[in-house]
């Protein structure tokens, strides 16, 4: 029999998270701090709208790009949060999570040989999606000394004459890093100068704890060279609804829409009706959850400080990214031993890129009670490690 498989897909490594997931799952009573989704239920009024839409029999396809009223609400949201306007009819698409948006944006914009700049540590799908789109991923290794922000210098050094796109994943999973306006301005200048495009994944935009999130689309000349990606999973605790969106200039959007209509058809109808309610009446829920995450974030940072575990202060998403280099182990070794010896699951930083070596992703999408128990165990573990080292 001939080889049934594509060479491209075979060369792509499975997600590093998957491997760890399998180990953790076998352990019955493990306490996990490894989850990349909110612990809140979707607010009831949003779920209720979803249920209501089912009761009313709204069980058909929507138009390919999504429900008109949802697209309008999305443009209103961007207008009020970033003061940038998009044409709901031609510049917005509702997707199956932010993940689909990443995929179709890349596929709509690159040709074989084009280089896509991917800052890491970052979400697991940029690199494989770039490869599947035929592009060459070029990794920019972010540094703890810069609080894992992307600097102009790092960007400039990575650009070649083949570079076409920069992925901008902030607020960042797994580091919790944010990019503030000045940081973005320095980046935008280079993007304009080198005539590049940006895919800005802002799925955690609502979860920042310093100042309000600034999108690169709000900077001069950037709206026309950016695909903005956001969604409902993180802000409204709607991960299982699989709903995201992208906004882009019409020329790019038309091509993204083609891929979406052939591959997906449309995002789930029930989720779209629920999302309309989320954008119309969900601000209070977002504020409540943000405040709650912020309290946990402070709690964790304080606990790390007391343990003497080095960790830069992250101001976004719901992750902290402590450094474990002092223990002389790889992230994977550390995570494995922590799991075996204390039954606490955290994700090795290397799951998000090689430069995550020496770090752990710890999620605080857990109640403080839960965090307390886990932290005590982590503390016991590192105290033991330090003793071993002496």
């Amino acid at each position: 029999m001939r080889n049934p498989l594509s060479e491209t897909i075979v060369t792509i490594k499975p997600s590093g998270i998957r491997k760890f997931f399998d180990i953790v799952n076998e352990m019955e009573d493990a306490i996990s701090l490894g989850v990349g989704e909110p612990d809140f239920d979707t607010p009831w009024h949003i779920r209720d709208e979803g249920i209501y839409s089912l009761e009313k029999g709204r069980t058909f396809y929507t138009s390919n790009a999504g429900l008109k009223e949802l697209k309008v609400e999305i443009t209103k949201y961007i207008e009020r949060s970033q003061d940038v306007s998009y044409d709901a009819d031609h510049e917005v698409i509702v997707t199956v999570g932010g993940s689909e948006a990443i995929d179709i944006a890349l596929r709509a914009m690159v040709d074989p040989g084009d280089e896509v700049l991917i800052p890491q540590p970052s979400y697991v799908s940029y690199e494989p999606c770039a490869i599947l789109a035929g592009a060459k991923p070029v990794i920019i290794e972010l540094k703890e000394e810069n609080e894992f922000r992307l600097t102009a210098k790092e960007l400039r050094e990575a650009i070649t004459d083949k570079t076409k796109i920069l992925i901008l994943p902030f607020p960042n999973n797994p580091t919790g890093a944010i990019m503030e306006k000045e940081d973005l301005e320095a980046i935008a200048e280079i993007i304009r100068e080198k005539d590049l495009f940006v895919i800005s994944d802002e799925i955690y935009a609502e979860l920042t704890y310093k100042e309000k999130h600034v999108s690169i689309i709000s900077l001069p000349g950037m709206r026309e060279r950016t695909v903005l990606i956001n969604g409902f999973s993180k802000a409204y605790a709607m991960t299982g609804w699989r709903l995201g969106y992208a906004c882009a200039p019409r020329e790019i959007m038309e091509q993204m829409l083609k891929i979406h209509q052939f591959a997906i058809m449309c995002a789930p109808t029930t989720s779209q009706y629920a999302a309309v309610e989320a954008l119309r009446n969900g601000d209070g829920d977002v504020a409540m959850m943000r405040e709650s995450y912020n309290q946990r974030r402070r709690f964790l940072m304080h606990a790390f400080k007391e343990m003497g575990l080095s960790c830069f202060e992250p101001y976004g998403a719901f992750y902290v990214f402590p450094c474990i280099k002092e223990f002389g182990m790889t992230s994977e070794e550390f995570a494995n031993r922590l799991l075996q010896e204390e039954k606490v699951a955290v994700v090795p930083g290397t799951a998000f890129g090689d430069c995550g070596e020496g770090f752990l992703r710890i999620s605080y999408a857990y109640s403080i009670e839960n965090l307390k128990i886990a932290l005590e165990k982590i503390n016991a573990f590192i105290t033991r490690l330090r003793k071993e080292q002496q």
Binding site: I17, F21, Y123, V124, A345
Partner: protein, 160 residues
């Protein structure tokens, strides 16, 4: 900061000052002062424990009583409300808009005890026109807490 403190202690009055300071990113002394000030101003009027008596062997019944009354000249409803709330078995008294005037909640050991209170004490008060007593059969949710089911984390243990 007040709003944040209240938001937290309304749900968890046992949280200590140190922990409050940590999660609010404030100084312990400021939290302590704020709590003291709110206690003095009567913003914080007590610290209670939520108990699901159903799960104990102690017999307790709770009743909601709608009371219609005639307001008194110069006193409005206050005088009668006071006469009602002074009974220790009365849990709460609210002045209500709509079809009746006062909503009284009451705890007793048995239906009989509550009924006796209503017929002997409450309905005989001068100015009380009528009462309607509703016994609570099951508490699904109380003070924002769902009593009928426990939170369960059904998420996958590790996700990207």
């Amino acid at each position: 900061m007040r709003e944040q403190i209240l938001g937290i202690i309304e749900k968890n009055s046992r949280i200590n000052i140190k922990e409050l300071a940590i999660i609010l990113g404030a100084e312990e002394i400021d939290i302590a002062n704020e709590l003291k000030a709110m206690e003095e101003e009567g913003v914080i009027c007590g610290y209670h424990t939520m108990i699901d008596w159903e799960k104990t062997s102690i017999e307790k019944v709770t009743a909601l009583i709608e009371v219609r009354i005639t307001p008194q000249r110069g006193q409005g409803y206050d005088n009668i409300a006071e006469r009602i709330y002074k009974y220790p078995e009365v849990n709460s008294v609210y002045l209500i808009s709509g079809g009746y005037d006062l909503l009284v909640t009451l705890e007793g050991k048995s239906l009989k005890e509550v009924s006796k209170f209503v017929s002997d004490k409450l309905s005989t008060l001068e100015g009380v026109l009528s009462t309607a007593t509703h016994f609570i059969l099951k508490k699904y949710k109380d003070h924002g807490t769902i009593l009928t089911r426990k939170y369960e984390d059904t998420r996958e243990k590790v996700t990207p």
